[in-house]
Symmetry: C2
């Protein structure tokens, strides 16, 4: 179902009134790609907005660039609704009405799983692209738009966040080639963007993270690391759950750790984030409790006290990290 | 004094018996660049070694590739001694005898400050290159050597470590272009290399780091963060001082922090690592106590108890972070 970049650009050139939809829990790739494309469309004189219904995460606020709106009647006529970094209605919940307004529907994504409920007028799904920012970069070029500094900052954020700063295995030669082009834009400075994304953490969040790390439990000869973000800890430090996002990556940086589990206690349930390093099939472990995800990055939710969730999940995870080579 | 890559390659093609010298306290760029070049020279049938006199850091052990030696008489005839990622004798202390053996002397570096005591037969010093790995990449290509997977891993490590994973402001379009080429080498996987560099930390080091972070002090309305790595903390966690290396970067990730100071207590003295974010002139602050460095990354040493060192340095640092725009 992939249309060519060229044919997509040809269609888009003739449209005006465009709403761009990043996925719920927007990240650097979703919002960066939306804003980059929105700015490019506006530079062509078109009316375009990034349609959101949740606040932009603080560390990504610089990506707004005047593009985002909560108002689903911001445009009189919506000729195109375009999903970015997602492709199913369950990823844009709460924005269905705005989505429905688009006379045409389009999609740029890099997730391989395709939702069936939408018939797109055009779509470009590239599972091999590390970031949708790479697709959007190509579309912007095909639209004949010069990459401005703001657009460059958005694209860089999209790529650097989705590739784990060019370290994850999804990174490709193309990711670097595009990044390399961005450095040629007058005024571009990766350090400035990087500091905005990563260097605005609160003292409290860092302290909370440190306490979780100081109190990790290890099982299976150190192959399994387990951490806990309790409501008590969050309240003591005045933190919210999303500030615990980086902890599991830290747990995975420990020598000998094959699997990590971070329990996150909410007001109503306990979420477990799971990561594997090379062989631990965390998707299978999560699936046993109604969860899911990728083999090496999965999650599940428990509606029971934290202690019970631990007793339920940890034995399964011990088996998972002990089961070498059964992926 | 810069020779062209082409002229350097022409000279090197005719030489055999080559010793490569990374700087003391070798890092990913120094060792990665040395090993990459050593492997390239060996692939041309030449005898070449990387001359060291300290153990390779654990997280860089995969860069050895059979190249390193402690034996300064490993070669009967040394036609070339080549300094990599440094250019002065004070950066290769303890290896002066081996250095002297080279009939010709060469240098590849990206530090702008040039030592005057050595007359190089050829040198290539590129302060605008983020990593010496970029220079070495060019030399290897000019030597007509195909980039092998081992060479690619060494070059990637050199560039990714010296650019802070492509985030620091020294990163250029060229850094990304070269990285982009490496992905075209059969078998290259940045994630594998990245995990070797970053994901082999000890539980104890992570715990020690967490304790330092949990106990940071803040001054000047949060603009100055001060941390302490004491001998007591190191002993309690069974850690060495070099395992505290990443802490100051974490301190700089805190919102509103303009300057950070990490005191590191050794058996005999107290070292202070200093970082500035945008304007804090840490080199000037360090210079007041006989230290030095770059404006935004400097250090100094105190021969007094930690508490006294704090009392001595912190007032100066408060002035430094309060003196906006005086860089």
């Amino acid at each position: 179902m992939n249309d060519t970049i060229k044919s997509i650009a040809t269609i888009m050139k003739d449209l005006d009134g465009i709403l761009l939809f990043p996925h719920t829990n927007m990240d650097g790739d979703a919002l960066g790609s939306c804003s980059a494309l929105c700015l490019a469309l506006r530079s062509l004189g078109k009316k375009a907005y990034v349609m959101i219904n949740e606040p932009v995460p603080k560390n990504l606020d610089f990506l707004e660039c005047g593009c985002t709106t909560f108002d689903d009647s911001v445009l009189d006529d919506v000729q195109l609704s375009l999903m970015i970094d997602c492709n199913g209605m369950n990823r844009i919940t709460g924005r269905e009405k705005a989505w429905a307004r688009g006379r045409l529907k389009g999609c740029f994504d890099h997730h391989a799983t395709k939702a069936k409920e939408i018939r797109y007028d055009f779509a470009r799904i590239e599972p091999k692209s590390a970031a949708v920012g790479e697709i959007v970069y190509n579309v912007i070029r095909a639209l004949g738009v010069e990459i401005s500094l703001d657009i460059a900052n958005c694209i860089f954020t999209a790529i650097t966040t989705d590739t784990g700063n060019f370290q994850h295995s999804n990174t490709t030669s193309r990711s670097h080639e595009i990044a390399g082009h961005l450095y040629k834009i007058e005024g571009f400075n990766s350090k400035v963007i990087s500091a905005l994304i990563y260097d605005r953490r609160s003292k409290e969040a860092l302290k909370m993270e440190s306490e979780v790390i100081s109190n990790l439990d290890f099982y299976a000869d150190g192959k399994l690391a387990v951490g806990k973000v309790t409501q008590k800890l969050l309240k003591e430090n005045g933190c919210t759950l999303d500030e615990a996002d980086g902890i599991i990556q830290k747990m995975m940086s420990i020598d000998g750790v094959e699997g990590a589990c971070l329990f996150k206690e909410t007001e109503t349930n306990v979420r477990a984030s799971l990561r594997g390093r090379t062989y631990a099939n965390m998707a299978a472990a999560a699936a046993r409790f109604g969860g899911g995800g990728h083999v090496l990055a999965a999650g599940c939710t428990f509606f029971m006290p934290l202690e019970e969730a631990e007793k339920t999940l940890i034995p399964v995870l011990i088996d998972t990290v002990n089961a070498q080579g059964t992926k």
